[in-house]
């Protein structure tokens, strides 16, 4: 284990531990409004200052980390699995299936999602608790986010289909799902990992944007997405550098994960 990896490991463990300990570290909770001190700079009482309505930013970051770190990867998992099903399988089957899947994927990518999401919002009830809204949001992201990954996967799988080792496997009498899952899928792993890791920050940011359609994480619940929205229109980072904390955390955590997992891939 090299130094970078040790460090990454430490970061991930620390972030997870701290966010799990949010109840003790930030006993006031993420929703309490300290109305006497909105937009406060960092202080002994509020380590990262307070937000627009005086909520403790540190508490919000902790709880937001909990939510985003759990649900964004979950959504990425859903979308990657769907991408494998559509893109990977079609690339492996080739021929008409590949053409069909590519057509479907392109169609899916070109749909006017804004309007469809507005329809989705219209179908959902208005009175949902913030926790349910969070789950719905990330589920929607996961279900809708597969298309771009599927495209990449279909190309990779298409290349594999004609490779010698797949021919060899077929000549050994292997076939069907077993051939796909045992022989094709492991070779798509690097692409899968890449798609998975790209999806996570994309979903975290998309979640913030879904808020505009009334689909995001509902107030007062924090998420990395809603914390990053604070950065909109931030004119000078030099004046309020602590507002960058969520962004910094996002970058550090994502980098650490990537370091950890890419190394594991190589040594495994």
């Amino acid at each position: 284990m090299n130094v970078a990896r040790k460090l990454a490991c430490a970061v991930v463990v620390a972030v997870c531990a701290v966010s799990l300990a949010a109840n003790w570290l930030a006993p006031e909770g993420y929703a309490k409004q300290f109305r006497e001190t909105p937009n406060a700079p960092p202080s002994h009482q509020h380590w990262l200052g307070t937000d627009d309505v005086g909520r403790d930013r540190f508490a919000r970051v902790l709880y937001g980390t909990r939510i985003s770190l759990l649900l964004a990867p979950a959504a990425a998992l859903i979308s990657t699995a769907l991408a494998v099903l559509v893109g990977g399988l079609a690339g492996y089957l080739g021929g008409i299936w590949l053409r069909l899947a590519r057509g479907f994927t392109d169609l899916f990518l070109s749909l006017p999602w804004l309007f469809l999401l507005i329809t989705v919002r219209a179908l959902l009830p208005l009175n949902v608790s913030p926790m349910v809204s969070v789950l719905i949001t990330f589920f929607v992201l996961g279900v809708l986010g597969w298309a771009a990954s599927a495209r990449v996967l279909s190309t990779s799988a298409d290349g594999l289909r004609n490779s010698d080792f797949i021919l060899q496997a077929r000549a050994s009498g292997l076939h069907g799902p077993r051939l796909f899952f045992v022989h094709v899928l492991p070779n798509l792993k690097p692409v899968l990992y890449a798609q998975f890791w790209i999806s996570i920050p994309v979903f975290i940011l998309s979640e913030a944007n879904l808020g505009i359609l009334g689909l995001g994480v509902a107030e007062p619940m924090p998420s990395w997405g809603s914390l990053l929205r604070e950065l909109e229109g931030l004119i000078s980072f030099r004046e309020e550098p602590w507002k960058l904390a969520p962004l910094l955390l996002l970058i550090v955590v994502m980098t650490s994960f990537q370091l950890l997992l890419s190394n594991e891939e190589v040594t495994a």
Binding site: Q33, R35, V53, R121, I212, P220
Partner: protein, 550 residues
């Protein structure tokens, strides 16, 4: 005609050269006032003063158009301009203007009653679809004009219009004969150059009739450069660099930042006429549970919610203090129409709880239940992208949470929100704002009449659903049909009282008018009425040396 033709531009430029040569001889009087620069936030859609219906065109009309009477943006009084005086007939159907003599359009053509008649006829032409003209359409039948003398004109309406004289503030007089059509203006400035998507250059109108107290010709400024710039960050940056002299309206965030870096430049003119408020859905056919409809229909429930909201906190936290807790439909800034007997609903959660208990509500383990045992929970929809409103919703959520009420805040894109509140009625509570440009209550008829489309809590009723709505209908109609300002005020005062009692709209805040004026600009006196910073543009000067040193 949406844009000025190239030829027209050249002609204007030529005229300007011609007149400036004439004026140099008069240079002892014509002091050089420099160039004022600020931003339009969108492309002006038209230069035709009668077709104006958005902010950018409105600004240009204000600076270039000559009007018969003008509402002083500071005193809110009506003042004579092209008309020396005016009278309104007793039945309220006729207004007669006595016009000033010796006034020329910017192209040199003389101004007379004929031009007023021409303007009114064109304005009321149904084919023109002028929104300015709509406010004069009081009843069925045409608006007619009668030229009594070259300097006197009567305008006759099919039905009386309350406060009709003030409406002429919006009517820029056009020339009946000038070949330059709308390019011939009576205001202090005229359009010299328009680069689509980039800028509009206004030059001083050499024929402008007004003089200051020392006999100097107005306007002082040589020119105004209006850059078309929708991005507020860029606008702020350019202001800070000294490339702009004014920012007409500022967000409280920007305001605070500017106030801390250069204190003298940020101006808070006090509460505007605009208001932010929330309301409950009282539509009988709305697809919401019966028991919730019963809550929302209860005046006690609405008043209790109103009492449980800490408006001082909203104004202080969300607007950084640059907003006033709202009292009702009329802002305290509206000097004449505000009912001064009314006070801000004080924040009293205990009193709110008492009210709720009177309606059979009870608290149990920190959760409020109604008399049938339903936990009190409702959603507030508001438009996404409005940060102040989103923040207010979160604060209201917290305030009501203290009463054991669970509030879900849902932000929606604007079209979806409008569809919910005006067509499908599938919402429970909504938070929105009104932009009020009109001091006169007639501008609010579309809200208060129970048959009106914008009667948001229960629009387009065939007959008023409640006695108090019927009373509001009666009072609003009474004030609209009377010409006596006193009687009108009495009626509208009563409307304000009923609204305070029944709280169909729970008014939250009136945001302040925030603006920025560079130190190089002399004579500025930002107000709450649009155009906040340049309402007295004809008397502004820009000091070039101050600007250079910035």
């Amino acid at each position: 005609m949406k844009t000025i033709g190239r030829r027209a531009c050249l002609q204007i430029a030529f005229c300007f050269v011609f007149f400036s040569l004439v004026l140099t001889a008069d240079s002892a009087l014509a002091q050089s006032g420099g160039e004022l620069r600020f931003c339009l936030r969108s492309e002006p859609k038209t230069f035709d003063p009668l077709l104006v219906d958005e902010d950018a065109s409105l600004s240009i009309r204000y600076l270039t158009g000559g009007v018969l009477v003008r509402v002083n943006r500071h005193s809110q009084e009506l003042e004579p301009e092209l008309a020396e005086s005016w009278t309104i007939s007793k039945d309220g159907r006729q207004i007669t203007f006595k016009l000033r003599h010796g006034i020329l359009f910017s192209d040199g053509s003389p101004f007379s009653a004929e031009d007023v008649a021409f303007t009114m006829q064109r304005l009321m032409d149904p084919a023109l679809h002028s929104s300015t003209g709509d406010s004069f359409r009081s009843g069925s039948g045409a608006v007619s004009t009668k030229i009594v003398a070259p300097d006197e004109i009567a305008i006759i309406f099919p039905a009386p219009i309350a406060g009709v004289d003030r409406l002429f503030d919006q009517v820029a007089i056009m020339s009946a004969h000038s070949p330059k059509k709308e390019a011939a203006v009576l205001g202090p400035f005229m359009v010299a150059e328009y680069k689509a998507g980039s800028s509009v250059l206004l030059q001083r109108n050499p024929n402008y009739w007004k003089k200051d107290s020392k006999g100097r010709r107005l306007p002082y400024l040589d020119s105004i450069r209006l850059d078309i710039q929708p991005n507020r960050d860029v606008e702020m940056l350019r202001f800070k660099r000294g490339e702009l002299d004014l920012i007409n309206t500022l967000d409280s965030d920007y305001f605070d930042r500017l106030a801390s870096s250069s204190p003298g430049l940020a101006h808070d003119a006090g509460a505007t006429l605009d208001s932010d408020f929330m309301w409950f859905n009282q539509v009988a056919s709305a697809p919401i549970p019966e028991y919730k409809r019963a809550w929302f229909a209860s005046g006690n429930f609405r008043r209790a919610i109103s009492q449980a909201i800490n408006r001082d906190d909203l104004a202080r936290v969300v607007f950084g203090g640059h907003a006033q807790p709202a009292i009702g439909p009329v802002s305290t800034s509206n000097k004449f129409w505000f009912n001064s007997k009314l006070k801000v609903e004080p924040y009293r959660p205990d009193a709110a709880l008492e009210r709720l208990k009177a309606d059979g509500f009870h608290l149990q383990n920190g959760v409020l239940f109604d008399k049938s045992g339903n936990a009190v929970e409702f959603s507030i929809v508001t438009n996404a992208g409005s940060k102040p409103r989103e923040r207010m919703a979160v604060m209201v959520q917290e305030d009501l949470g203290k009463l054991g009420i669970k509030v879900n805040v849902v932000t929606l894109d604007f079209p979806s929100l409008i569809e919910r509140i005006s067509q499908k009625f599938n919402y429970e509570a909504a938070m929105l704002g009104f932009r009020n440009v009109d001091l006169d209550p007639n501008g609010q008829m579309n809200i208060w009449l129970s048959s009106a489309e914008d009667h948001a809590w229960n629009p387009q009723q065939k007959s008023p659903a409640t006695a108090w709505e019927a009373e509001i209908d009666r009072l609003m109609r009474a004030q609209a049909s009377s010409v006596d300002p006193k009687k009108r005020k009495e009626s509208f005062d009563r409307v304000q009282e009923i609204v305070a009692e029944q709280a169909p709209f729970i008014y939250l805040v009136n945001p302040n008018a925030l603006s920025a004026v560079a130190a190089s600009v002399e004579g500025a006196n930002p107000g709450i009425l649009s155009p906040q910073t340049f309402w007295n543009a004809e008397r502004l000067t820009v000091n070039g040396t101050t600007r250079a040193s910035r």
